[in-house]
Symmetry: C2
């Protein structure tokens, strides 16, 4: 089977925002409280950051677990790596993701300010100033036959959608309105010219939207 570029578990508000206004080191999602939109995933048994046993094993868990299935690399925007803009003032700061990032694969960070690659546990971060098509080419090569996850944020997902490089998307829509920030869409219907869409309401209150290319 060919390698896919997949968006997985990307969560937006009812009004289409993937992050709020005013991203800082302490508030990666700006004015949004991340728990307001990620509660659906945090409740599942398969949530990668789960530290205690338990958790649900219903519909939401299928999506939470699918995060890493057959994924060999991730592509992310610079703002998902950290809040720094412009040149890197401190190469010792190694991103938001702690000593054991939840990716466990090569990660390609899009930035106009490349810096040397480094590894944290089994995740290696590479920094590229390149077109979406070129980043995808490198990520697929690194993924060694597996799929590539497009990790976000909103700007990065939009950039790859605009270049028509996305094969499948799982977007969870949380039942909250946030009003401002980085907006993925006004309505998911905007993508129906190019994608099939299954709309799946979960008993937890989120709605899972599953897009695949026509």
């Amino acid at each position: 089977m060919s390698q896919l570029l997949r968006v997985q578990n990307f969560t937006v508000s009812q009004d289409g925002f993937g992050s709020g206004e005013g991203q800082t080191l302490e508030r990666p999602f700006g004015h949004i409280n991340p728990m307001d939109i990620f509660a659906w995933a945090g409740a599942t048994a398969g949530w990668p950051n789960r530290t205690e046993p338990g958790g649900t094993r219903g519909l939401d868990d299928y999506f939470a677990r699918d995060f890493s299935h057959n994924i060999g690399a991730e592509i992310m925007g610079r703002n998902k790596f950290g809040p720094v803009r412009g040149p890197w003032p401190d190469l010792e700061w190694k991103g938001w993701w702690g000593d054991t990032p939840p990716f466990h694969t090569p990660v390609f960070v899009l930035t106009h300010h490349p810096r040397p690659s480094f590894s944290l546990a089994d995740t290696t971060f590479h920094f590229l100033d390149a077109t979406p098509a070129e980043v995808l080419r490198q990520a697929k090569e690194a993924a060694d036959g597996k799929d590539v996850r497009l990790g976000g944020g909103v700007h990065t997902v939009r950039e790859f959608l605009d270049a028509d490089l996305v094969d499948t998307m799982h977007i969870a829509v949380a039942p909250v309105e946030v009003g401002r920030g980085e907006r993925l869409w006004t309505s998911p219907d905007e993508l129906l010219d190019r994608f099939h869409l299954d709309t799946v309401p979960s008993p937890s209150g989120v709605t899972h939207l599953l897009f695949w290319r026509k």
Copy 2:
């Protein structure tokens, strides 16, 4: 994480039947036409028996693909292996699953008539006359840390439910009535004393039922 015993992609009719009446070599599901109940899975990109490219990548595909995720062994009843009852008349006949069975793991077949183990491609069949608890013990050992799939049929699923050994179940309910055969339940509500249940209608017409232990 501990090893689970999971039922995956087990499909029943609206009225709860997993197979029809009159199983024969030519008709593994008896009077039921298997396509009537498995069409939902056959339409997906992830269907293990798919030979042509294409297929849907919506909700049904998530379940079809989950069939093998983190599975290290399968347990099945003798009637899922083949239609023969009583002693084996011909050890050269190696079951319904062809030269490359879709399991790709050790498979433990429950039978009162054990026969020697054998391998077909990367699937090895073992034949056990033992209690559900003992078969599960051996399957978990063979699964090497991964989960064990309980493959059916109906009688086998019921046996493990009655022994309270099942951790999660994905049952797809197809929108057809078949009237007679092997019945899993009169209503899924029968299990609600021991299981949580998410009921998820798919745009394709099947309803996915996701059970996990309370």
